[in-house]
């Protein structure tokens, strides 16, 4: 198994493999995204309570799911990088961080845009939004620590540990904010309990969620390729790649 893991994780193999994969993933994402948009904006009936404002859910909820999903995936990369010292896992981890931060930011802004019609204020210390905000700081912490250490191999190991600490703290932060929210505000209608959704409302949501996951794969592969080229500029496999590009 180790032999396979190391060949699979060799930068050369990954660079070529991702190069072939990206166009396909783009196609899949395009289809899914358009179907999701159509379903969310046109096909799904307006919500009886919130009217059309609820359509923001088709961006907010998938983005919120993605922000959590990416951090957990980063923790898995961190664990692999620490235990088996696979360089590719380190690169995947640090390439995922900006994407996760982008989704968290997106979830935050759309959350407050969605909250405005319901509560009349942009920010209402809702439990989910507050823990989403703290998750954003965790992402910025990961990116900040990586940028602060100049030797990239040491930086990756430090970031792997920080991500593992973060992933242990995410449930703790989430439940402490829930506790704090119910303690002080009582349970008004919060974003936590999504209204039970009719199926034709739910399907576009799942389609969008899958589209975002495919999107994550695309952005991750592009960022990883860029990072691999930056880390190993004068490696043999990169020479061949450049020669092939020159011939095209």
């Amino acid at each position: 198994m180790m032999k396979w893991l190391h060949t699979m994780a060799s930068s050369a193999w990954f660079y070529r493999f991702s190069g072939k994969m990206i166009p396909w993933l783009m196609g899949i994402f395009g289809v899914l995204f358009l179907v999701g948009l159509y379903g969310g904006l046109v096909a799904a009936p307006a919500d009886y309570q919130q009217g059309d404002a609820f359509r923001i859910i088709y961006i907010h909820v998938p983005a919120a799911w993605m922000s959590l999903f990416i951090y957990i995936v980063m923790a898995v990369y961190g664990f692999i990088a620490l235990v088996w010292r696979i360089k590719l896992a380190e690169v995947l981890l640090i390439s995922s961080a900006p994407i996760g931060a982008a989704f968290t930011f997106l979830a935050l802004v759309t959350g407050s845009l969605w909250g405005k019609p319901m509560w009349g204020t942009w920010w209402s210390w809702d439990a989910r939004l507050t823990s989403e905000l703290l998750l954003l700081f965790l992402y910025w912490g990961v990116i900040g620590l990586y940028a602060a250490i100049e030797d990239k191999r040491t930086a990756s190991r430090a970031v792997s540990i920080l991500t593992l600490i973060g992933v242990v703290n995410i449930p703790i932060i989430h439940y402490s904010v829930e506790w704090w929210n119910t303690l002080h505000q009582g349970s008004s209608v919060t974003l936590t309990d999504k209204p039970s959704m009719a199926t034709e409302m739910l399907i576009p949501l799942l389609v969008m969620a899958t589209a975002f996951k495919v999107y994550y794969a695309i952005s991750l592969l592009i960022r990883t390729r860029a990072e691999l080229v930056e880390r190993e500029p004068n490696s043999k496999w990169l020479k061949q790649v450049i020669e092939e590009n020159n011939h095209e």
């Binding site: 948009l37 904006l41 046109v42 307006a46 009217g51 059309d52 404002a53 359509r55 923001i56 961006i59 907010h60 983005a63 900006p98 994407i99 982008a102 989704f103 930011f105 997106l106 802004v109 759309t110 845009l113 969605w114 405005k116 019609p117 999107y215 695309i218 952005s219 592009i222 960022r223 390729r225 860029a226 080229v229 930056e230 500029p233 004068n234 990169l238 020479k239 450049i242 590009n245």
Partner: protein
């Protein structure tokens, strides 16, 4: 069509969210691709530099 754009009174909220989503998704693909091209170019220069040096020594 204009009723669709009106979004039941929440046009601003809905369309800003979707526009922001579109921008964020775009940035996160264009940005890394440009960076990838830039890094490839830099690697190319480094390799040419190494070849020149190795020819001299």
């Amino acid at each position: 069509m204009s009723e669709f754009l009106y979004m039941g009174g929440y046009a601003f909220h809905v369309w800003t969210s979707y526009a922001l989503a579109f921008v964020v998704l775009l940035i996160n693909i264009l940005g890394p691709s440009l960076r990838h091209k830039k890094k490839l170019q830099r690697a190319c220069d480094i390799q040419q530099l190494n070849e020149i040096q190795s020819n001299d020594t």
